[in-house]
């Protein structure tokens, strides 16, 4: 009789904890998929970046010194808003022979904006003092930046410079596109 009673008590206790826990967890659980949505979405999208028209080739200095341009994309979707023709970032463009090289303005270290220093004719990040040569390579020893400045694909068509603009994962030696 007593054993039966303890069995019943035990059942009540387990049932109570079980049902309470289910109720307690439910509100958070109902939002977990929504919370994790950004991770799920980025994993699915691996498209090629679209070409963006940047500037007439003639606007780049002949001597190969860099000039800064903003990159305007035709269509940018931010969550619910679809923007038309808005700037998505900036690049340094330099002439190299008949080609144009593009460096992302963002430092590969932690994403600060890199300056071009005319006096020393090099690139310099004012946040943590990474410095880069005109070819984008790291110039100082013990530079905080783990890699050269990030280049992107460019082409010249009908006298205009086009670019596939991208951002890359900061602070790793390899250049990995963000998606």
């Amino acid at each position: 009789m007593e054993g039966e009673d303890t069995g019943r008590r035990k059942f009540i206790r387990v049932a109570t904890i079980g049902v309470s826990a289910a109720c307690g967890i439910f509100p958070l659980a109902s939002g977990i998929p929504a919370l994790l949505d950004p991770v799920k979405k980025s994993a699915g999208e691996q498209g090629v970046e679209p070409w963006s028209k940047v500037t007439p080739l003639a606007s780049l200095p002949e001597d190969g010194s860099p000039a800064k341009f903003e990159v305007v994309q035709e269509k940018v979707v931010d969550a619910w808003t679809t923007y038309k023709d808005i700037p998505v970032g900036a690049v340094y463009l330099t002439r190299q022979n008949n080609d144009v090289v593009a460096f992302n303005l963002k430092c590969p270290h932690l994403g600060c904006a890199i300056d071009y220093r005319k006096q020393s004719n090099d690139y310099f990040c004012p946040c943590h003092n990474s410095s880069f040569g005109l070819d984008g390579s790291v110039t100082t020893e013990n530079s905080p930046s783990p890699r050269s400045m990030d280049t992107m694909e460019t082409k010249v068509e009908d006298g205009f410079v086009w670019i596939r603009f991208q951002h890359f994962r900061p602070n790793v030696p390899e250049k990995i596109p963000l998606s």
Partner: protein, 584 residues
């Protein structure tokens, strides 16, 4: 492990606290009638957690509120479910509030020494209703926008401070960004914080006086843990399942078309405020906004004192039952009146159409920075329906309504235009019975014109049988997007019939005797070259009095283009729309 708990207990004394919480005595044993308070706490907890999660997706401004809710609802993984749980739990909370209140009233748990706690409970009820009201606006859809405007207009009824109070809550004179930022701050910050504070006091006072036991006691005393907690938890689970059931059944909370002050919508509050809405049809706003709430507050304050005596307690119970019965009756009345009102159901249909339309546009084009409402405003289909309703529907009909689905009070005095120029439409036009009916020219001077009296009425059955073929020819010239064009030889054959080459029509006039198709003669009746085509329709709407159409025989059709009643763009939009769909 034990060491960690011991260490923690040494520093916090949590075991004592837990013991205190769990081993509250329940005189007379655990009972189902005590579960409502716990259910409400659970419901509020759910709202805080799901509300915080919703916060991560919501953006309060006139250009982003609807848009961010749309995104959550349709683009975020499981977003509709999260929003649905929050929406339906809010409704469950109202039901639970009533149950809790009635249990307290019937059991007499509001009487000494629990007066204070009763008042706190009433205060919490007020805060919960305010949460419902503020939450209703946040999606910034038509329903929330128009209904909440009524509520904030009522605020202005408060003596002296009313208009200022309204401005403070609305953030200005008109609804806009600051209405949303303020409502959001109230809904997600001020009101929940108040409610948390009140819950703490409420539970503290409840614990201080213990459970009010309803006599007779069914069983021997037990403890909160585990017997009562099990009953509470099962009740919470039932609430949860009901909410999940509603969420799944309705596929989440509704989202109407984006708020637009220029686009009318029949304002209705959420169902639990419908009784107030209905009441305002009978009493002045001042009563609804001030006198009735003030009376309720006074009653709630006096109730513990009224209830000291047994008859007083019965009066209290009677008061609340009357209030509930009255509210239910008013609510049912509100539903019944709306259901009987054709314009109201048409308005709801129209809102549904707009909601679906804006979703399909968003899918095609995305939402511009100016917000989704601009999509609907510039949408040609939506504009055409509204243009038809304002400029055409006082004489014409579209599927029997005004183009948007609203019934029209004026009698129909010009042709039904749904399926205009289609084979079916022209076939019907060419039968005498329909030609002179209200559906076509029955309301016009043409009812007694040549076409009716000397043509259609005169034809023999053999000749009448040829008319559907003429209809096929005419309709082919309209080049309607939903009809297949004729083969060339078929067309030639039908044209021969139109020109009466084989003298098929002899008893009345033949078509070509009055109407032209590709011929130089100036027929007395409208030229049918390109009949129903885009060019023909636009030209006709612009100037039906042109020689090409009715000339001076025009009955009452306004010359929309010639007299600048509509712009060329508007006429084009109308023509495209009229020609785009078969009749229903």
């Amino acid at each position: 492990m034990k060491f960690v708990f011991d260490w923690l207990d040494d520093r916090s004394g949590y075991r004592n606290l837990l013991h205190e919480v769990l081993y509250e005595k329940v005189p007379g044993g655990a009972r189902w009638r005590y579960v409502w308070g716990s259910c409400l706490t659970f419901a509020f907890f759910t709202q805080v957690v799901t509300g915080t999660l919703l916060w991560m997706f919501y953006s309060p401004s006139a250009q982003t509120a609807w848009e961010s809710v749309y995104f959550l609802q349709y683009q975020v993984w499981g977003g509709w479910f999260l929003r649905g749980v929050h929406h339906y739990m809010a409704q469950a909370m109202i039901v639970l509030l009533v149950l809790h209140l009635m249990q307290v009233v019937i059991d007499g748990a509001y009487r000494a020494p629990r007066e204070l706690n009763f008042w706190f409970g009433a205060l919490m009820m007020g805060v919960t209703l305010a949460l419902s009201l503020t939450g209703y606006l946040l999606p910034w859809d038509q329903k929330g926008y128009w209904a909440t405007a009524v509520a904030t207009n009522l605020m202005a009824e408060v003596p002296w401070i009313g208009p200022a109070l309204q401005k403070i809550v609305v953030g200005g004179v008109e609804y806009g960004h600051h209405t949303l930022t303020r409502f959001f701050a109230l809904h997600a910050g001020v009101l929940p914080a108040m409610l948390v504070g009140l819950v703490v006091v409420h539970i503290y006072l409840f614990r201080k006086h213990g459970i009010h036991v309803k006599e007779p006691r069914p069983k021997k005393d037990s403890y909160f843990w585990p017997d009562q907690i099990l009953k509470d938890a099962i009740a919470c689970l039932a609430v949860l399942l009901a909410v999940v059931g509603l969420t799944l059944y309705f596929r989440g909370a509704p989202l109407g078309p984006p708020a637009d002050p220029a686009n009318e919508f029949p304002a209705r509050p959420e169902w639990y405020f419908l009784f107030l809405f209905q009441l305002l049809k009978y009493v002045p706003a001042f009563w609804g906004a001030v006198i009735i709430p003030a009376f309720l507050v006074l009653w709630i304050f006096l109730q513990p004192f009224i209830g000291i005596s047994r008859p007083g307690h019965q009066i209290n119970i009677g008061f609340w039952w009357t209030l509930i019965a009255g509210s239910v009756a008013l609510t049912l009345l509100a539903f019944a009146e709306d259901r009987a009102n054709l314009r109201h159901s048409a308005a709801l249909e129209e809102a549904n159409w707009q909601a679906e339309r804006v979703l399909s546009i968003v899918q095609d084009q995305g939402i511009p920075p100016a917000g989704a409402v601009t999509l609907l405003r510039s949408d040609h289909q939506n504009r055409a329906r509204n243009l038809f309703a304002s400029h055409c529907s006082s004489c014409h009909r579209f599927n029997g309504h005004d183009g948007r689905g609203y019934p029209v009070d004026d009698p129909q005095t010009a042709p039904e235009l749904a399926g205009f120029a289609s084979v079916d439409w022209v076939s019907k036009l060419l039968t005498h019975k329909h030609y002179i009916s209200e559906e076509y020219f029955g309301g016009t001077a043409f009812k007694d014109g040549t076409m009716a009296k000397k043509v259609l009425a005169k034809y023999t059955p053999e000749e009448t049988a040829l008319l559907p073929r003429i209809a096929t020819l005419l309709s082919d010239m309209a080049e309607l997007p939903y009809q297949k064009p004729l083969e060339e030889d078929e067309r030639e054959e039908l044209l021969a019939l139109f020109y009466n080459d084989d003298l098929d029509f002899q008893d009345g006039l033949a078509c070509i005797d009055c109407h032209d198709i590709d011929s130089e003669g100036d027929g007395y009746a409208p030229d049918l070259t390109g009949y129903g085509s885009n060019e023909w329709t636009v030209a006709f709407i612009k100037n039906p009095e042109d020689e090409r159409f009715y000339g001076d025989e025009n009955d009452r059709m306004p010359c929309y283009g010639r007299d600048a009643k509509l712009t060329d763009e508007e006429i084009q939009i109308l023509s495209d729309w009229i020609r785009s769909k078969p009749a229903k």
